[in-house]
Amino acid sequence: MTNAMELYQMLPKTNCKKCGKTSCMAFAVALMAHELTADDCPPLKEEPKYKENYGKISDLFKASEGATSTGLIVHEELCFGCGNCVVACPPNVANDPYGVGSGNAPRDAKKLILIIEDGVVKAQNVEECRRFGKNKILCNGCIVTCPVEAIEFV
């Protein structure tokens, strides 16, 4: 997963304000939040010397177009259903504190983002994920708790 700093490094860094943002750094943050796209930076799009970087940034975001809106991917062949992510996921805990939040079976699986089905984790209700929407944060609760790197965000 990329971050705003990496994106900034690929921008013109001229702070020309043509995109409407006050600085290239602000533009990079907006890119991360999916508020703007690479096409919104006129110099990046038009000037030949930035062509390579324009391609790179566009490709970065192209990869996540096909994934769920939060970019969550579960590698089912790696997952063995330990449920660490299910218990660690903050929205899961908030929605079901005495069920999955306490390590037990879900009391109401419909409200949860991650559940274990047939020994493999399944993602649902992605709009509840803290990585979703305008005010998203880069929560990584399900990634750092996975012993086998079966969950990934693109």
């Binding site: 259903g81 330990c82 660490n84 079976a105 493999v120 708790t145």
Partner: protein, 414 residues
Amino acid sequence: MEKNYNVCTGCGMLCDDIEVESEKNIVNKVYTACRVGVAHMKEGRESAVFRVDDKPVDEATAISEAVAILKNAKNPLIFGLGTSTNETQKLAIELARKTSATLDDTSSFCLGRVVEALLQNRFKACTLDDVRNKADVTIFWGADPSDSHPRHLSKYSYFPRGTEKQRGWEEDRTAIAIDVRKSHTAKICGNNFFQVPPGGDAEFIDALIAGLSGKLPKTSYNFPPKRILELANILKGAKFGVVFVGLGLVYSLENLEPLFRLMDALNEKANFHLIPMVGHYNMRGFNENLFEETGYVNSVKFEDGAVKHGPEYSIVEALKAKTVDAALIIGSDPLSSLPRSIAKNLLEIPVISMDPCETLTSRSSKVYINTAISGVESGGSATRMDGVKVEFKPVVETKRLSDEAVLKKIMEAL
């Protein structure tokens, strides 16, 4: 809404919150269980197989052949029972008494010593529910629950919120792994992973005890003393600590003395409990049932109403010395799990194998009785790794006999 939960008998954790969708006695979907549990639950089959000398026979022939073997034997070996219910284990103890048998289970080369010490109150014990509600420091020593008991960390020991640990793993708990390799559990423990060389556990324990009392910890393999002191500081601050003892630690120690020393030292400075990482779902049950009957946890020989105990009655030593002249193996596969030089002696005596699955042992035994999977196709009760009794009902029905029913038939015929 009250949900209908099942108990999973896939490992020593006996998860009691599993939802199962089944149709016509076939398990279709399993919720909340890990991959081990799902595979275990979906293993059921409709009809049983009985074999004598590799030829399919009917139930009565197989049982009468088994009875004949036990009758003719002077010193039969009864082994296994780690995946049988408490009721079956009690019947097996009775059968061993009746046939003057040598009785042993996998704990004689597994965690038997630790369970014995626990039953003799040498360690402070607690339940897994206490761990979830109170534990702030958990040590996984020579154990890798992420692979052996996948839901251990998420259900009890690290991630969940408990009554006194509302903030769970993020702030309220510290997990520590001490192992010879960076296991999946060690990966979750991050910086709190301490890698010791194989066989270096006893020395590490002594260094840690030195560190706990403020001395400079020394090891022959030059483990950084600063790190041991860091670990000692974490442990000293524990309000409710738990040490999960795995096979790795038990195999590395010649006797349990270092572990006794460590637990005493820890309890001088803090509050520490011990839970063995039992693999088979009811190995602890066998240890407790036999302890209740005889005062020993494994490796016993019944003779004229008396009970003898000693390493010579463990499966390894009994097979090595060829003192047993027949074997009844219940739900275990010694031909695969024992060293070849010892296991090959099993081929020289008549073996009766009772198992839900085809194993190497079942394939080379004289009598094979295909039994129901206990916990999935037959019910009963079992003892969890922390000593809590768990009752369970069958998830699906089958025509296969439970090992309890088979043992009853054998006892009647005897």
